[in-house]
């Protein structure tokens, strides 16, 4: 959160037409400039950023240091590429622009994009560097584009003469598949000096990694952390289930051929059932409970048909409530286990009245001593699918449909797994 005024020196020389950075060097630079401006203004609202071009007809200040992001983005638009870069003049004009900043309390920083060969000699650059240091101006250099013979040494020399206390940095970005801005996000140019990354940088990194929507599953972790967490967890659970199913199929194909093929196909069909339901759970809106009910009923019928004992229905969905509640945690651990464990454990647990009633007591609005709940427990122990449906309906009644979040106890017939699932129902 350092209060800073930054001048960005953009290289718009002829060398920027080259396409070794996608789409061309100049565009890559423009993207990087936009990202830097965003990062600076986000880390401290009073920060100001200005832009100047070093090539073309001469050094030209496009925007004096301002906190208005729109102005900066607009000026990057429609810039022409041509001419030769004048690094020394560019840095000096940047220093002058910073000197006349409105808020004298801001620290001064210059960010230089050095893409073309440098025609000045080292001595001159070092002198400029020393002058910057004397006036406590920090300098960040982005070395990309042309790899001239003397360029790295010259830039290193400038950095050495400017650097006081590691406030100045140099970043070398070679041409490659990664975009210039992606490489820069992880550098101290973005993250600031030892601040460990502003929120913007982190979000931008997520955007770079996440793809189209900009965030995993299209949900901003900042806006809705619970939903994002639930989605991420279902995804992991889905992946785990599919891996287990594949493993199961491999095992069973190895163990028993022919006769077992039917159950395995049912197995996969069954896993598809819950996976379909899990996919539905990933929908953010309009997941009607009726759909869910129907799907689970179908899944249950499939489980009734299945003969082999050791397939698992991985209808698990780890809610963050599990972290708090040891009962829930236990239930979830058991539910995520590999199919090697027999369903007996679960039935034993279910037989344990106290365990189930303790789980039920954590559900809001459920009173374990309620006669209907006791009936439910009895029916559950009989391991009939009717019990499942009852349980589902019961919990809905108990919790009240009008609650935005509710818990329902899913007991899968023969498999006898106790799973607690928490759903956000968006009305």
């Amino acid at each position: 959160m350092v209060l800073e005024a930054t001048m960005i020196c953009v290289d718009n020389s002829e060398w920027m037409r080259n396409g070794d950075y996608a789409p061309n060097r100049f565009q890559a630079q423009a993207d990087a400039v936009n990202l830097i401006c965003g990062a600076k203004t986000q880390s401290n609202p009073e920060n100001t950023v200005g832009v100047l071009t070093m090539a073309g007809k001469g050094v030209r200040v496009l925007v004096t240091p301002t906190s208005d992001l729109g102005k900066i983005l607009a000026c990057m638009h429609g810039l022409e590429v041509g001419g030769e870069m004048d690094l020394a003049a560019g840095i000096q004009v940047a220093q002058l622009a910073l000197k006349h900043r409105q808020n004298k309390k801001q620290q001064q920083r210059i960010i230089v994009f050095a893409g073309s060969p440098i025609k000045h000699d080292k001595k001159l650059l070092e002198m400029i560097g020393r002058k910057l240091k004397k006036n406590s101006v920090a300098l960040d250099i982005v070395d990309f584009g042309e790899e001239d013979d003397g360029k790295p040494e010259k830039l290193e020399a400038v950095l050495a003469s400017v650097n006081s206390n590691d406030t100045s940095h140099i970043v070398r970005v070679p041409a490659g598949p990664n975009a210039l801005s992606d490489v820069l996000i992880n550098t101290p140019i973005f993250t600031g000096d030892g601040e460990g990354g502003s929120g913007f940088a982190a979000a931008a990194a997520a955007a770079a990694a996440g793809g189209v929507s900009g965030f995993d599953f299209g949900v901003d972790p900042n806006l809705d952390p619970e939903l994002a967490l639930a989605l991420r967890v279902s995804m992991e659970e889905e992946r785990a289930r599919q891996e287990a199913a594949a493993k199961k199929a491999a095992e069973e194909a190895a163990k028993e051929k022919g006769g077992e093929q039917q159950p395995t196909s049912q197995d996969t069909a069954m896993t598809e059932g819950p996976s379909a339901s899990a996919a539905e759970a990933n929908e953010k809106k309009d997941d009607l409970m009726d759909d869910e009910n129907a799907l689970l009923q179908r899944a249950l019928e499939m489980s009734m048909d299945g003969t082999t004992s050791s397939h698992d229905m991985r209808d698990t969905d780890m809610s963050e409530a599990a972290a708090d509640d040891p009962n829930l945690q236990l239930a979830l651990q058991l539910s995520v286990q590999e199919g090697a464990k027999e369903g007996n454990d679960m039935s034993k647990l279910l037989a344990d009245q106290s365990f189930v009633s303790s789980i039920l007591s954590t559900l809001p609005g459920v009173d374990p001593n309620d006669p209907s709940v006791k009936d439910l427990l009895a029916s559950v122990q009989n391991q009939s699918e009717v019990g499942f449906v009852h349980c589902f309906e019961l919990s809905m009644d108990l919790c009240g449909v009008e609650h935005l979040e509710f818990y329902y106890l899913v007991v899968m017939g023969k498999i006898s797994k106790v799973v607690l699932r928490r759903r956000n129902v968006l009305l």
Binding site: K99, K104, R130, K133, K134, S164
Partner: protein, 204 residues
């Protein structure tokens, strides 16, 4: 520490005269061309400590003797004289120029601007020399900028102590930050805790 003035010190305590250091806003003290950022704060201390070099000192960058020190005060002060303890072997500053109540001066400004007062300095290793000011010009000083353009021949300039003698008034000279002028009062701009957090009175 016996003060080496040519008067007897039993009558008054010399150090109390140099007590303006208490009115310095140390967090906002800054210097340009210092070798170690932040080292400038160590030169403002009590008069008795002026030869105590253990806390560190202010040094300019190698090969560049120029120094610029910005000193804001917590209230307006009247400065009678200034004392500087420099380094040995030509590391003492040879000239001092001061500017009053100007913020954000850098080297190019300092070199071009007319100083309020300038002194030629001599080596003052024990801090017994003081440089008198033209008192009328230093009547209400909110901040002072000291510019040392050169030293007496050394590689760097070192300063161990800067002391100010004078009086502190209780007045504060603050730049008015934000003023909002209203032609007509708008109640929504004047939300008080009672109003916004559900008291009986509710202003829309």
């Amino acid at each position: 520490m016996a003060c080496m003035h040519d008067h007897s010190c039993e009558d008054h305590d010399c150090s109390s005269n140099w007590s303006l250091y208490k009115h310095i806003d140390l967090s906002k003290v800054s210097a340009l061309n210092e070798a170690f950022p932040g080292s400038v704060k160590s030169v403002f201390k009590a008069w008795e400590q002026r030869l105590n070099f253990s806390e560190g000192h202010l040094e300019s960058n190698d090969g560049d003797p120029e120094l610029l020190v910005f000193v804001p005060f917590t209230s307006d002060v009247k400065i009678k004289s200034i004392s500087i303890v420099g380094g040995a072997d030509g590391a003492s500053p040879s000239k001092m120029r001061v500017f009053i109540n100007r913020e954000g001066i850098d080297f190019s400004d300092a070199q071009s601007m007319q100083a309020v007062q300038e002194w030629d300095m001599v080596e003052n290793l024990h801090g017994v020399l003081e440089y008198q000011t033209r008192y009328s010009k230093f009547q209400s000083v909110a901040n002072i900028t000291l510019h040392f353009p050169d030293n007496s021949g050394g590689d760097t300039t070192q300063i161990y102590y800067i002391g100010f003698k004078g009086e502190a008034t209780q007045l504060k000279r603050d730049v008015v930050a934000t003023i909002v002028y209203e032609l007509m009062p708008n109640p929504s701009d004047h939300k008080t805790k009672a109003n916004s957090s559900g008291g009986l009175s509710h202003v829309e």
